[in-house]
Symmetry: C2
Subunit: 339 residues, 2 copies
């Protein structure tokens, strides 16, 4: 069974929700979790008969700590220890719901970047009207990007959608303020020109409305726009749910209507519930790193462990390494030809 290191100390509900999520993953034979963190906090939460391995490390990164400070002072933290276990081959993947900036910094520091990737990116999953999932990257890792970074995000998204989600030729779009060639800002216009020369199914500019109609499998943007997009989507879904709830409780007739539709509303709630997807992989590092929402509950952690196992089993990192190499060779060939 694939072993997944789980940062027991990271997240708003750590260590309780993390330990319970790991236990659920173990019970359902999803993967073999290894809990990393303060043994004194973790052990009492585990069943006496539990066979889950605990790797003790007393230090951990606070949720509000700056990534650069954590990187200097918390080398022995639970999250970095988890990555170290992956480096040494003890585990094949890491899951953390802790400080996401620090998680990203330590993943890059300890696992290292895949050759050709300047900026690893956070990839989030979005349900669409077709009933499939689209991915968005970067969802918040890198706020100020160069055009070449967006090109790398596009290639990484392509590889994840192809090998991780089994889409033969994933449609990759660049998030913009309109589909016409004249649209875009300085950054996207340059990235758009570069992407035309890359050997992926690049469909050009897409608009916000396309993100949820299922017309695109991979949505590319810088981390600032991506993060705004991610949280805005949550915001709209929440506002609509609140709107419906408040009105439904106002009369008996409406409550009855709700009862008759309860399976539909439950399906909607599941569809827009982040915890169904577990977490967001940090793509572009040498290995598997799943970064979860700080507010992750037991279910989110269990699903993140399932995602981690899945990406490890499908050897996404190796596919990415290979594709990035092909891409760099194609650039080299072109540059040689031109000179």
């Amino acid at each position: 069974m694939i072993r997944v290191a789980v940062d027991a100390m990271g997240g708003d509900h750590a260590p309780y929700a993390i330990v319970k999520g790991a236990e659920a993953a173990w019970r359902e034979q999803i993967a073999e979790p290894v809990l990393v963190g303060d043994e004194n906090s973790i052990r009492p939460l585990l069943a006496a008969t539990s066979k889950i391995e605990v790797v003790h490390t007393p230090s951990f990164v606070e949720m509000r700590e700056s990534p650069s400070s954590a990187l200097r002072k918390k080398r022995d933290s639970s999250v970095n220890k988890a990555y170290a276990l992956q480096c040494s081959g003890d585990v094949e993947a890491v899951v953390t719901a802790g400080n996401s900036g620090a998680a990203m910094a330590f993943a890059i520091f300890t696992l290292g970047r895949i050759q050709g990737v300047d900026r690893p990116a956070i990839m989030s999953f979005h349900p669409n009207a077709k009933g499939t999932l689209s991915v968005l990257l970067d969802s918040g890792g890198n706020v100020d990007c160069k055009p070449s970074h967006l090109v790398q995000f596009a290639i990484m998204g392509h590889v994840y959608a192809k090998y991780g989600m089994g889409i033969e030729s994933p449609k990759v779009g660049l998030l913009s303020n309109g589909q016409e060639e004249t649209k875009g800002n300085e950054l996207t216009r340059e990235a758009h020109a570069l992407l035309r020369g890359v050997d992926i199914n690049y469909v050009g500019y897409i608009e916000g409305t396309d993100m949820y109609n299922g017309s695109t499998d991979v949505v590319v943007s810088d981390g600032f726009v991506g993060n705004v997009a991610l949280k805005l989507s949550e915001g709209v879904a929440e506002a609509i749910t609140t709107f419906l709830k408040e009105r439904i409780r106002k009369s008996f007739r409406r409550k009855l209507g709700y009862l008759l539709l309860s399976d539909v509303f439950e399906e909607l709630a599941r569809t827009v519930d982040y915890s169904e997807y577990g977490g967001a992989p940090l793509v572009g590092v040498n290995g598997v790193s799943i970064i979860c929402h700080g507010k992750s509950n037991e279910k989110a952690i269990k699903n993140a462990i399932a995602m981690a196992k899945d990406f490890a089993a499908k050897k996404i990192s190796a596919h990415l390494t290979e594709t990035m190499q092909q891409y760099r060779e194609s650039i080299d060939r072109r540059t040689t030809k031109e000179s």
Copy 2:
């Protein structure tokens, strides 16, 4: 009654939907519309007894025409003629559902900018969970912005929310990837620092989730991010509506549930329906210019005329001129002190 020039030739459903919208506004005594465009196309759509004034101009801007080309070649177009009528005092406001880039270009060219405003911005209206409206600017006018532009957007949003929507001290937030001081990109970080020194109720960074929970009255962003945000919101709302509709039609029980909840669903549909809000004012020009969705129907045009009348009656432009002057004087004072 306030006279509003309506570009009869602009929009996917022009001139029919435009003429019908103007007739509805006239019938309901909202304002006195003046239809601008090709008389031969407009007259047959008007009732024989109609007293609506038609200003004939045969030329108009195509939906796909580039704004710069329109600005050179279409000075005699319906949209520019409408602005000219406002300049000469024949009307107090303009409504157009035509090519929005060209509408913006002509508004700036013919009406002129308010002193202190470098970049007029498009302001869109968003319903929130509190049942009020928030405004977002810039929603698409200016894709590449400087920090000073965002500061001007914030002041303009403040003025519109205060004098147009009657909010005494509107809460103004800067759309970002997180609320912490360490968040933001290069552009927002500099704008954030500048906004702290401006005499408005600036609440700092807000996230996408805040746009719909009613915590902020005015949301500021560059036009690229704003446009992505606007269309993404439409996309999520559409996807959720599609999701519910598809499932509801699948069984008799669900259809019955829907019937019992039909008033709630209708209210939701109205709340997320752009046509209820009519259009988006272009703020920062000397006058009133409401830019509507290209797909505007009769109701959208009627509501846009109501919005145009409202902003003209409330003398938003005069308030904005005054506030921008105070702001520039305060900068001058500070600069003098510092030197």
